[in-house]
């Protein structure tokens, strides 16, 4: 069996198809690498205005670390609960935890509260 003895259209779809999938997701990657930078810029400006009133803000690096840990833990918890049962209740639990304990989310929700009145 000659593996190459198929129509050239087949080859086109095989190679080109995969490349297009790559291109599409690379496009998405690019955009989503860009978005947080734009948001950061906007947030900084907003924070700048805010700090005049609020006073000291925790150093960003420190905050980020906490936020990261928090996200990692909550996602691990999420998947752990997901294994036990399949429904939604756990997600709500985790959301509550996130809101309650993370200084990062407090900052984030602060920002949201600024943009989203409710």
């Amino acid at each position: 069996m000659n593996l190459l003895a198929i129509s050239s259209e087949t080859w086109t779809i095989t190679i080109l198809g995969w490349l297009i999938v790559f291109a599409a997701l690379l496009f998405l990657v690019g955009i989503f690498l860009l978005i947080p930078k734009i948001i950061k810029l906007a947030t900084k400006r907003a924070l700048h205005k805010k700090t005049r009133h609020v006073g000291s803000v925790p150093a960003e690096d420190e905050m980020m670390l906490t936020g990261e840990m928090n996200a990692a833990i909550s996602m691990a918890l999420y998947l752990y609960f997901d294994e036990i049962h399949d429904d939604e209740s756990n997600i709500i639990t985790i959301k509550e935890v996130k809101r309650r304990y993370s200084p990062w989310s407090s900052k984030l929700y602060g920002m949201n509260n600024m943009n989203f009145p409710r």
């Binding site: 069996m1 593996l3 198929i6 129509s7 259209e9 087949t10 080859w11 086109t12 779809i13 095989t14 190679i15 198809g17 995969w18 297009i20 999938v21 790559f22 291109a23 599409a24 997701l25 690379l26 496009f27 998405l28 990657v29 955009i31 989503f32 690498l33 978005i35 947080p36 948001i39 980020m64 936020g67 990261e68 840990m69 928090n70 996200a71 990692a72 996602m75 691990a76 999420y78 998947l79 997901d82 294994e83 399949d86 429904d87 939604e88 993370s102 990062w104 989310s105 984030l108 929700y109 920002m111 949201n112 943009n115 989203f116």
Partner: protein, 427 residues
């Protein structure tokens, strides 16, 4: 006080119950009635499953029972295997044709429920629910892992190539190829458009191998990734803001469907569901989408896809005019199963190898653990769990689950895009 009616009532009832027997004994010639009764028994017998059974029915029933066994005993994708398994039983109860019983007979209940499969309506509704239950945070926090979800789609295109070689027509090859996407709804959607006559085999193959992901993937992982690389620890993903989570489904919808408009029903609904979840103002809709709605559709899709595997299905050949069996157990089905197995292997290998290639360009603590490449085949969330399990075997402190979720969900997007590409080229 009712006691006085007792005797006449009892008599009436006994009279009735006895009347039939009296009739047998007394009415007409007697033998005539007996003959009629025999005729009736024969008529009924010819209607039963026992009279219409073919040995292939029993093979399929055994397959259905095996699916149910796998689901209950090993907890392999029970939400899919139980409905499909019982569907296989339902579809292979033998029946006399022409009585609106079977799934393929117009006007039967199963045929009406199958409509949503045939027209590709159920898969987008399932994607709506999946969108409403999926947290894309890990993917947003580390977008470059998304590429692994693209790499694993090599399974799709490899299978396309393989199916063409095995002699399937281009549209058929495209439909078969999507098995490598490891997404049931996508597979059903695409085959409903490109090759409806192969849908049963494609769907069963896709769901079977998805359920078997914990069996298929580990050996490939061990083959292709050296132990030291399996132990790589990754930085925890950064936290993701609510705004990013809201923007993701909107931007994702616009970009992916501009590239691949044929995937609109799938990707549109996936990102719609995710926006319902992340917007924070439509929680009641998101809740219904990821519970009642997806459950209802899963039940109907599973049982009808299972029932579409009817082993005996006599139809007239449009060319020769003779009656042939277009049942499930055909050489084509066997080929599709073989191709499906290969496509899962190639997809997994593609994800793993690409992850190793990526590592050539990444430095220090930015290096990724190549195991997570295997999650790019999607089969959400099973393949991510397999990655987690394999990672723990090599280093009990290395939790890869959150990292594996990124290629895992991007594999869903990648397969849907690939399905759109197939439609663009082949429909």
């Amino acid at each position: 006080m009712l006691q006085k009616y007792k005797l006449p009532f009892l008599l009436f009832v006994l009279l009735f119950m006895g009347a039939g027997f009296n009739a047998f004994a007394s009415a007409g010639v007697g033998t005539d009635i007996f003959e009629k009764a025999l005729e009736g028994v024969e008529k009924f017998w010819n209607f039963t499953g026992f009279a219409n059974a073919h040995f292939t029915n029993f093979i399929m029933i055994a397959v259905g029972l095996f699916f149910i066994f796998l689901a209950i005993r090993y907890d392999y994708e029970p939400l899919l295997l139980i409905p499909i398994g019982i569907g296989i039983l339902i579809g292979n109860i033998p029946f006399p044709p022409g009585n609106k019983i079977g799934l393929y007979e117009e006007g039967s209940v199963l045929n009406y429920l199958y409509f949503g499969v045939q027209q590709g309506i159920y898969p987008p509704l399932i994607f709506l629910g999946i969108g409403a239950m999926t947290d894309f945070s890990s993917l947003i926090s580390n977008p470059k892992l998304m590429i692994l979800g693209a790499a694993a789609q090599v399974g799709i295109f490899a299978t396309f190539w393989g199916a063409s070689i095995l002699g399937f027509a281009p549209a058929e090859s495209g439909a078969i190829a999507i098995i490598g996407g490891a997404d049931g709804p996508t597979a059903i959607f695409l085959s409903s458009k490109l090759a409806p006559h192969l849908m049963g085999a494609i769907a069963i193959a896709a769901y079977s191998y998805m359920a078997l992901v914990p069996v298929i993937q580990p050996p490939i992982m061990r083959l292709l990734i050296p132990m030291e690389e399996r132990k790589i620890k990754m930085k925890p993903p950064r936290a993701v803001s609510k705004l990013e989570k809201i923007l993701f489904p909107i931007v994702g919808l616009l970009l992916t469907t501009f590239i691949s408009p044929s995937a609109l029903p799938l990707l549109g609904m996936l990102f719609f569901g995710n926006l319902l979840k992340e917007s924070g103002v439509t929680e009641r809709l998101a809740d219904t989408a990821r519970n009642s709605l997806i459950n209802i559709v899963t039940i109907l899709l599973g049982v009808t896809v299972g029932a579409s595997t009817q082993a005996v299905r006599i139809v007239m050949d449009p060319n020769t005019g003779e009656m042939i069996n277009k049942g499930f157990l055909s050489p084509d089905s066997m080929k599709i199963f073989a191709l499906g197995a290969i496509s899962f292997v190639v997809a997994t290998a593609g994800g793993l190898i690409f992850a190793r290639i990526m590592n050539l360009f990444l430095k220090g603590d930015k290096k990724i653990n190549p195991l997570i490449g295997a999650a790019g085949v999607s089969a959400v969330p099973d393949s991510a769990r397999v990655v987690q399990a394999e990672g723990l075997k090599c280093d009990p402190t290395n939790h890869l689950l959150m990292h594996a979720m990124a290629p895992n969900v991007s594999g869903v997007i990648g397969s849907a895009v690939a399905a759109g590409i197939m439609l663009a080229f082949l429909m």
